[in-house]
């Protein structure tokens, strides 16, 4: 099978997936706005149906149907960076590196979105866009680590060596996550305690649970679709570089070769 047909085939699969994700997004958003009950305040200790911060309908909470899947995709993506990096160092195969690189980019994108949605929620709920809440801080540190990873790749003098060193960073970055997490949690506890807000209490009504799970699936689909697109781009870049190098090595085509039909 020629590389072109392979590309086209995987292209069809990706298109179908993208279409499914698009439909899923629309359905999910519709569910958030029209199906899930709105007035329910999920803050523990606040009576059901009571507004939490002001008297307007409590739409704010609904951002969690986006925020939680986004955060989950970010972690998933960084987990894939770890796996891809390990496999790349073990086998030296380029495709593992392309996988890790793609996943790091998507992970950084989703960490950024996670911070953004968190801030949008925090403004009306906590009264501020930013607070040194431990989860928020952890996410921010993750963002920094993997932005560093991408920056490193961009600045590497030799791409192959850059890829190998980036893999080491990708591995240590992920191993570091639980350590950063605990340091954040313990660091905060000595200061005036934040009001601990548990957004997803265990007593979720069915509509909320279903919407959340549904969106988790949709976002996973989105991640896979983005990965397919991005790794395909990575392979294409690689193939282009190979072709260019091969072209340079070969003497210019002779006239009779060009003349053959």
């Amino acid at each position: 099978m020629s590389p072109l047909t392979t590309a086209r085939r995987s292209g069809t699969g990706t298109m179908v997936l993208i279409a499914l994700v698009a439909v899923g997004m629309v359905v999910g958003i519709a569910a958030i706005f029209f199906w899930v009950p709105t007035a329910n305040c999920l803050v523990p200790g606040v009576a059901d149906g009571q507004p939490c911060f002001d008297a307007r309908p409590d739409y704010i909470q609904h951002i969690f149907y986006m925020h939680v899947p986004i955060a989950y995709v970010a972690y998933l993506a960084f987990g894939v960076v770890l796996v891809g990096s390990l496999a790349y160092l073990k086998t030296g195969r380029r495709r593992w590196d392309i996988l890790a690189h793609a996943s790091a980019e998507i992970g950084v994108l989703f960490t950024g979105l996670c911070l953004l949605t968190g801030m949008l929620w925090g403004r009306p709920r906590w009264g501020t866009f930013w607070t040194w809440d431990e989860t928020l801080t952890l996410t921010f540190v993750l963002f920094l680590i993997y932005v560093g990873y991408l920056l490193f790749r961009g600045l590497a003098a030799d791409p192959t060596r850059g890829a190998r060193i980036a893999a080491v960073i990708g591995i240590f970055g992920f191993v570091d996550v639980p350590l950063v997490h605990f340091s954040m949690v313990w660091w905060r506890t000595l200061h005036p305690a934040e009001v601990v807000i548990n957004p997803a209490g265990p007593q979720l009504p069915a509509s909320e649970l279903i919407t959340m799970l549904f969106l988790l699936v949709v976002y996973t689909g989105l991640y896979v679709a983005l990965m397919l697109l991005r790794t395909r781009l990575g392979r294409a870049e690689e193939a282009l570089a190979e072709a260019e190098a091969a072209l340079e090595e070969r003497p210019p085509p002779r006239a009779h070769v060009a003349a053959t039909p």
């Binding site: 160092l89 540190v141 920094l144 680590i145 560093g148 920056l151 490193f152 600045l155 590497a156 003098a157 030799d158 060596r161 850059g162 190998r164 060193i165 893999a167 080491v168 960073i169 591995i171 240590f172 970055g173 191993v175 570091d176 350590l179 950063v180 605990f182 340091s183 954040m184 313990w186 660091w187 000595l190 200061h191 005036p192």
Partner: protein
């Protein structure tokens, strides 16, 4: 193991003659401690142990943070310089050609960094006590234990990321960008433990930080030893 000491001794002996790492490091550390002192209310160090402070951080807690931020910033200068001595004149190739385990190369470099950190602290700690007017009796000997656990991780991380940043453009910039986010657990732990010493809390109440820092040390040393060859080999 023996070769690790040989390599570290080579760096330290060279430094003892050239004096191009430790003196600038120490001087920079002093400048930082001085700058931080300017922001510190006079006599705050002697003030009685602050109780639970609401809405503000006790001065002595802040002092611990200042100390570690100064050490870290000064330390990173040394890490970069220590790594680049092998990069200049491609000397790392000479070491890679010798029958030495890359893990020993890593350990040798890390050991040299470890010694530079102790040198830095040997000067900065007394100055810190003087400038901030904190009682030395509270700090010793606990601070030595805190420094030991912190230095292991800092030296190892500084070696790993110092070596990594030799192979990029703008390496002086890249190294702190890579290093600072990952060593957060270590630095927060050291700060918290130092603050606890300064406010008379001792180390016992905060022992979980030692576990966290120890876990960091273990992770970075293990990954550094295994992964160093992927960084320095072509």
């Amino acid at each position: 193991m023996r070769k690790m000491f040989l390599l570290a001794a080579k760096d330290l002996r060279s430094e003892a003659r050239a004096k191009e790492i430790a003196p600038p490091m120490v001087l920079f550390g002093l400048i930082l401690v001085f700058l931080f002192t300017l922001n510190f209310p006079p006599g705050a160090g002697q003030a009685p142990v602050p109780g639970p402070v609401v809405g503000a951080v006790g001065s002595r807690e802040l002092a611990g943070a200042f100390l570690w931020v100064s050490l870290l910033f000064a330390g990173i200068l040394g890490f970069g310089r220590n790594a680049s001595t092998e990069r200049e004149g491609n000397r790392i190739e000479g070491l890679l050609l010798a029958p030495v385990d890359p893990a020993a190369l890593f350990a040798g470099k890390a050991l040299a960094n470890f010694c530079y950190l102790w040198t830095l602290e040997a000067v900065l700690l007394p100055v810190f006590v003087l400038f901030f007017g904190v009682p030395a009796g509270l700090l010793l000997p606990g601070i030595l234990l805190v420094a030991l656990v912190a230095n292991v991780g800092l030296a190892a991380a500084g070696t790993l990321f110092g070596a990594a940043s030799q192979y990029v453009r703008a390496r002086e910039l890249v190294m702190p960008l890579l290093l600072f986010p990952v060593i957060i657990p270590l630095v927060l732990g050291a700060e918290r433990l130092t603050s606890s010493l300064l406010t008379g809390g001792g180390l016992g109440s905060q022992s979980r930080w030692f576990i966290l820092m120890g876990a960091f040390d273990l992770a970075i040393v293990a990954i550094g030893a295994v992964a160093f060859e992927f960084i320095v080999n072509e």
